[in-house]
């Protein structure tokens, strides 16, 4: 089973819709420990992505992903803009030259996105950021893939780990991003970036399920 460009497009469209639906929720999470704008920021970016997709859909996968990354960087601002932008640019590089992505390719692509977050944001797992979703999700994917699971099963493992990673941020004290100014007062709240990242994994799974089903 491979990840085709059509599935990638579905994934992006699903996520854009999901962000719009969860805009208020994501913003509220950010209000508690940040500056009350994560949902607004991401939604601005993915509305721009949706607008530009018609012009980009004829490109290969890496071209699409690169365009998404550029659009996010141009429109989101804040911390989320460079972070998600870098994620998509790095995923594009990993997917370069490929018509469709095998399980191993998808694992490499997601790992490249994770590395982008670390390079850009210098966070470690446990700092209460989106990395707390990405790192375990990618680990779970690669483990499943290494033990021979197919794309769907590996993504199910990844989405499950993403959800746990997201929830793991609740008790943490933030050490990166705006929430870190709060010190101990940041504990007890779920990180907004970790939450939107979980949605991204969940939507990748459901895009693949859609084609598989």
């Amino acid at each position: 089973m491979v990840l085709t460009k059509d599935v990638v497009l579905t994934w992006l469209e699903t996520f854009a819709r999901d962000v719009e639906e969860n805009r208020a929720y994501l913003t509220e999470l950010d209000g508690a420990i940040g500056d009350n704008d994560h949902g607004t920021n991401l939604d601005r970016g993915f509305r721009a992505v949706l607008n530009s997709l018609p012009d980009e859909r004829d490109k290969p996968i890496d071209g699409v992903l690169k365009a998404v990354g550029m659009t996010l960087i141009k429109t989101v601002g804040g911390a989320a803009g460079p972070l998600y932008g870098t994620v998509f640019l790095r995923m594009a590089s990993a997917a370069a030259g490929k018509e469709a992505l095998s399980e191993a390719d998808v694992g490499a692509m997601l790992a490249a996105g994770t590395k982008g977050i670390v390079d850009r944001g210098k966070a470690e797992v446990g700092d209460k950021t989106m990395l707390d979703t990405w790192a375990p999700a990618v680990d779970a994917f690669q483990e499943a893939e290494a033990s021979g699971e197919d794309l769907l099963a590996a993504l199910q493992a990844a989405a499950g780990a993403a959800e746990e990673g997201m929830k793991s941020t609740i008790p943490l004290v933030a050490r990166k991003g705006r929430a870190s100014y709060l010190g101990e007062r940041s504990a007890g709240h779920q990180d907004p970036g970790a939450t939107s990242s979980y949605l991204l994994f969940k939507d990748l799974l459901s895009a693949v399920e859609g084609t598989a089903g």
């Binding site: 940040g34 500056d35 601002g77 804040g78 911390a79 460079p82 700092d127 050490r175």
Partner: protein, 333 residues
Amino acid sequence: MKKLINNPEDVVKEALQGMAEAYPELIRVDVENQLVVRKEAPVQGKVGIVSGGGSGHEPMHGGFVGKGMLDAACAGQVFTSPVPDQMYTAAKDVNGGKGVLFIVKNYTGDVMNFDLAAEMAQAEDIQVQSVVIDDDVAVQDSLYTAGRRGVGGTVLAEKICGAAAERGDSLDDVANLCRRVNENVRSMGMALTPATVPAAGKPSFELGPNEVEIGIGIHGEPGRRRMELQSADDITEMLAEPILDDLPFKNGDRVLAFVNSMGGTPYLELYIVFNKLHEILKGRGISIARSLVGPYITSLEMQGVSITLLRMDDEMEMLWDAPVYTPALKWKA
């Protein structure tokens, strides 16, 4: 929400348009890209200085564009960092062949967006250096955190580096000077009332009729602690002492004392704070070489005050006194 605005989404663009009409002799404004650019930019043979950040802190940064200070300011949405395209475009607009200095306030978003812009500019062979200002002693600093926020020290760094660039200093020299300013400046603020982001429509936090928040940021981020309102003298002490102890400032130091309104606090109160600050400094043998009092780095209509102290050397003093001609700071020009 009681504000003199039209549509919340148009706030930044309309305000930029208004600035353009108010100061045609000083600046030109690229409303589309949300850039305020020095009228005569690029100035050949001069390092270009670019700063920027979320809107809502006016006059910072757009009000500091002009001769002797910034070459360009990038305005984000209210309290949201601008995007790399803006800083990249600004760098191209102001590069006079000697490179461009980015003065960045230490917020994760600002730092990452400026970093991306720097990469983009360097890819086009524009020499760029970035200096991150992190002067807010209200925030615990450590290797493992996002570190201190950039606040009032930014205004002083922009003025002093602007003067250095104006006299022809190299990019390395201006950047080093900027780091020196940052190493010698400390700030802390407090709020009597919260601010309301137009798009949000309600205040970012609530304070009781007798409550104040100590150690506030400029985006309504929470501070060190919340407490009962106290006298101006006591509050001035609560802000000044962590600042003084942090550097630490010492007997014999000469400082620039900057008492800043968060937007809604009137001069009468700023002067009362200044009066107490003067007494505290005197008690520690620190002299006030220069002063700045007024709303310069604000948080919309927030009532409150921040104190910034910069330990000055002769060069900084000379550069502070050098001509400046911008909407918000003007002298000798």
